[in-house]
């Protein structure tokens, strides 16, 4: 071979390589999420599996996660500062603070991507569709959060009562729990029928519709839009809560309870009924209850949605926007690849990784393809989505939790809340403070329901009137 031929051959190989290289080039996507940290080996292993799955699907993507402090408040603070400093990853998980970014055009409209997506459009829950129509910047594929009440099945059996179907039957159940010595400490009358934490959101989940609180905005007798918080339906509901608290059936210390205190009261028998915020959480409660009572085969019973003077159903779901979720930066040079990552996570392959954990650690697959979970599955949690169309190879939820999920699916009602313009931020904050404060005072007995009008006046003065005027321009 002459030197000339050698040079020609070398040049040809180099050109061929150069032409192939772009097609095989790996794209780097930066992703920041509260639940994905380089310091967590499980997170990194999941990312590796996702990258492998994406490659098999034809996307050679290197996902680089950005570490931010854990804990919701610290994450939100750190994320805001990071974005403000101009460091904007391709995929951003928000848990608040997104609206400001969207207003400035930093977040990409996801609807065109979803429209032509391979997996996501089939994986959405009904409320996701509504929320994306109103606010197309965040994607959070999970069933709506609808807390539902649970009780120890053995306690319900001991009481000889059927699950309550009406508001009155709920009160009777709480009274029976309170009066009986179900925890066996020898002192009847010291068990709470129901406990909660922080505020009344959990209770509202099943009692709103029962008392006629059908949504955030309701029409009054004159046909004008008013916030449901200042309606007679709301007053009737708060009266019910206050009566329960006064009789010692509902925990007056709910305002100072943290979630772990609430759980502890349930596990130790100080309270008979608690609300689980999601089907998965109900299963966690069941597991912790069994841990607290070794040797006893305790199961939890899901209590039904009660009917009341105003109707029956789960509280209307706010579909104005996702309160958290994944966004794609409009400044990203790899928007298609970033969306490909999200789309993959909504696919069967992506969900298998995200929901089932690692083969040999969280689950085992036998030769026939049957999947069995190990004890480690209780430590696993999805980092991305809970797709509506994904069916686990083996049931992930207990029958109680599955019943809770079915209830959520069957009772979805969209709320008429909408996104507030930035100018109304102070009014929204002020009215929220006034409402929360008065409700807690009514329930703990610091204020009497006779002062309801005083609350309404204060609420309206704090911005309620201005907000209602704006609502009238938005709602039809």
């Amino acid at each position: 071979m002459t030197i000339k031929k050698l040079l020609l051959a070398t040049t040809a190989v180099a050109l061929l390589g150069a032409s192939i290289a772009p097609a095989m080039a790996q794209t780097t996507i930066r992703l920041v999420s509260k639940d994905l940290l380089t310091t967590n080996p499980d997170d990194m292993k999941e990312i590796e599996e996702i990258e492998a799955g994406l490659k098999a699907a034809g996307h050679d993507i290197d996902i680089q996660t950005v570490d931010l402090p854990g804990g919701t408040a610290a994450y939100v603070d750190a994320l805001g500062v990071m974005l403000l400093s101009g460091d904007i990853p391709d995929i951003i998980y928000f848990q608040g603070g997104d609206q400001k970014m969207a207003e400035q055009g930093i977040l990409e409209d996801l609807n065109p991507f979803i429209e032509k997506s391979e997996h996501i459009k089939d994986a959405l829950w009904p409320h996701n569709v509504d929320r994306l129509a109103n606010y197309p910047y965040l994607l959070y594929i999970y069933p709506p959060r609808a807390p539902q009440p649970v009780i120890r099945q053995d306690w319900l059996d001991q009481l000889g009562m059927e699950p309550p179907k009406t508001v009155e039957e709920y009160e009777a159940l709480f009274q029976a729990i309170h009066d009986a010595d179900l925890d066996g400490d020898g002192t009847p009358g010291n068990t709470l029928g129901l406990t909660g934490f922080g505020n009344t959101n959990e209770l509202d989940s099943i009692f709103n519709q029962a008392f006629g609180v059908t949504g955030t905005w309701m029409k009054n007798a004159d046909g004008a839009w008013v916030n449901s918080r200042v309606t007679d339906a709301e007053k009737a509901k708060i009266e019910f809560y206050a009566r329960l608290a006064e009789k010692g059936l509902f925990d007056k210390e709910y305002v100072t309870n943290t979630f772990d205190v609430k759980e502890d009261k349930f596990y130790t028998g100080k309270a008979g009924v608690v609300f689980g915020s999601s089907p998965e959480v109900i299963d966690i409660y069941a597991g912790k209850m069994r841990q607290a009572h070794p040797g006893e085969d305790i199961t939890l019973a899901l209590l039904p949605i009660p009917s009341g003077p105003g109707g029956q159903g789960l509280a209307a779901v706010d579909v104005s926007k996702e309160s958290r979720g994944f966004a794609i930066s409009s400044l990203s040079e790899h928007k298609d690849e970033a969306f490909a990552v999200l789309d993959f996570m909504a696919s069967k392959e992506g969900q298998d990784i995200d929901r089932l954990g690692f083969e040999g650690v969280h689950h085992n697959t036998d030769a026939s393809g049957a999947v069995t979970f190990t004890d480690q599955i209780s430590t696993w949690y999805a980092r991305f989505f809970n797709a509506a169309n994904w069916v686990p190879p083996t049931p992930l939820l207990s029958p109680t939790a599955q019943a809770a999920l079915d209830t959520i699916k069957d009772n979805f009602v969209a709320d008429n809340a909408f996104v507030w313009p930035a100018d109304y931020a102070a009014d929204v904050d002020a009215t929220e403070q006034v409402y929360r404060s008065w409700v807690a005072k009514f329930i703990t007995g610091e204020a009497s329901l006779d002062q309801w009008q005083q609350f309404v006046d204060e609420y309206n003065a704090a911005g309620g009137t201005r907000m209602a005027e704006y609502a009238a321009t938005v709602l039809k």
């Binding site: 939100v76 974005l83 609206q99 210390e253 305002v255 100072t256 400044l331 904050d429």
Partner: protein
């Protein structure tokens, strides 16, 4: 220590002062009253001291002076993609026009006032009492015991107080019940929650804050106590006529510095003690700004509130300095 000209620096001068950095020692070993040496020569001569001081200066410059320029954000609409847009006083108008701003401001003033009135004197009293303990071992034990709460976070302290004050099984209410008094839910009672803030602040900080006063007490010339004893002064008279006057400059300085933080009523404490019932009573500027500004990404609004607090703080520092100068002859400068 050997000075540049080879003369050994006396540990202290005849009037008890330590020579200042940069002062040249005369051949006699005495400290000169003034120096005409150029700055460059001073730096060359005393560079180890300047080198030691540099990190501190750098820290203050970067973290305390550079951000002052960024306070202009209070007058801007912050853009992720620059440039920011100048909006004048719009952020301040939004802040002051909030329906609950004046209630929040009133809460801040009340809580800060209560803390100045009831929390500020406690470390002074603690230091005076500690100084009276004659047994070194006992004093060491008491000091360690009362310093410890300083190292606990407000999350933990809030948990402790919520448990202690629980109306059902809290120790405080059980003691009350034993004496025939009814239970009170101190954490959800709008009349008591501010006192919970004051008492928990005392519990957490009194021991630690007494350190400065204790150090000031130890610096008082023992001859003054001996002279008082010779004059027949008892313990109380020695405290009143020797110890307290001896620490007045420290008290004045710390009081003035505390006034500068008057509108900062401790975000961490309040946010951990806050609940739906007491929110209207202890919602302070910091919690309000955190809620409305930081958690929603309204950084300009948060900066406007911060600037408002800083201006008020500066006014309070300068006025308390002037008052202190007039009353005690001591101030910050």
């Amino acid at each position: 220590m050997v000075a540049g000209d080879g003369q050994k620096i006396a540990a202290v001068t005849s009037d008890g002062n330590v020579p200042a950095v940069g002062e040249r020692v005369r051949s006699s070993g005495n400290i000169p009253l003034s120096s005409t040496t150029s700055l460059g020569a001073k730096v060359r001569q005393w560079w180890p001291y300047y080198a030691m001081m540099a990190p501190g200066l750098l820290f203050f410059f970067i973290w305390h002076y550079v951000p002052i320029w960024e306070a202009k954000m209070a007058f801007e609409q912050v853009r992720i993609i620059p440039p920011n847009i100048w909006v004048g006083l719009k952020n301040f108008q939004q802040l002051f026009s909030s329906p609950i701003f004046y209630q929040v401001l009133a809460n801040t003033l009340i809580i800060s006032g209560m803390k100045i009135l009831f929390v500020f004197p406690v470390p002074i009293i603690v230091a005076l009492l500690l100084n009276e303990i004659r047994s070194g071992k006992l004093r060491g034990f008491v000091q360690s015991a009362i310093y410890l709460p300083h190292f606990l976070s407000w999350v933990v302290i809030a948990g402790v107080f919520i448990a202690l004050l629980s109306p059902t099984d809290g120790a405080v209410n059980q003691i009350q019940n034993a004496f025939g008094f009814p239970s009170v839910n101190y954490m959800t009672n709008t009349g008591t929650i501010r006192w919970v803030l004051v008492i928990s602040e005392i519990w957490r900080s009194a021991g630690w804050d007494s350190l400065l006063y204790l150090a000031a007490i130890f610096a008082i010339d023992p001859q003054l106590y001996e002279a008082a004893e010779m004059d027949g002064a008892n313990r109380w008279q020695k405290i009143w006529h020797v110890t307290i006057p001896g620490i007045v400059p420290t008290i004045a300085t710390l009081f003035i510095l505390n006034m500068g933080m008057f509108l900062s009523a401790d975000l961490n404490q309040v946010i951990n003690m806050q609940n739906d019932v007491n929110a209207s009573t202890i919602d302070i500027l910091d919690t309000y700004v955190y809620r409305l500004g930081l958690s929603t990404g309204e950084y300009a609004l948060a900066t406007a509130a911060g600037l408002f607090k800083a201006v008020i703080g500066m006014i309070l520092v300068v006025s308390s300095h002037l008052v202190s100068k007039r009353l005690t002859g001591k101030g910050l400068w």
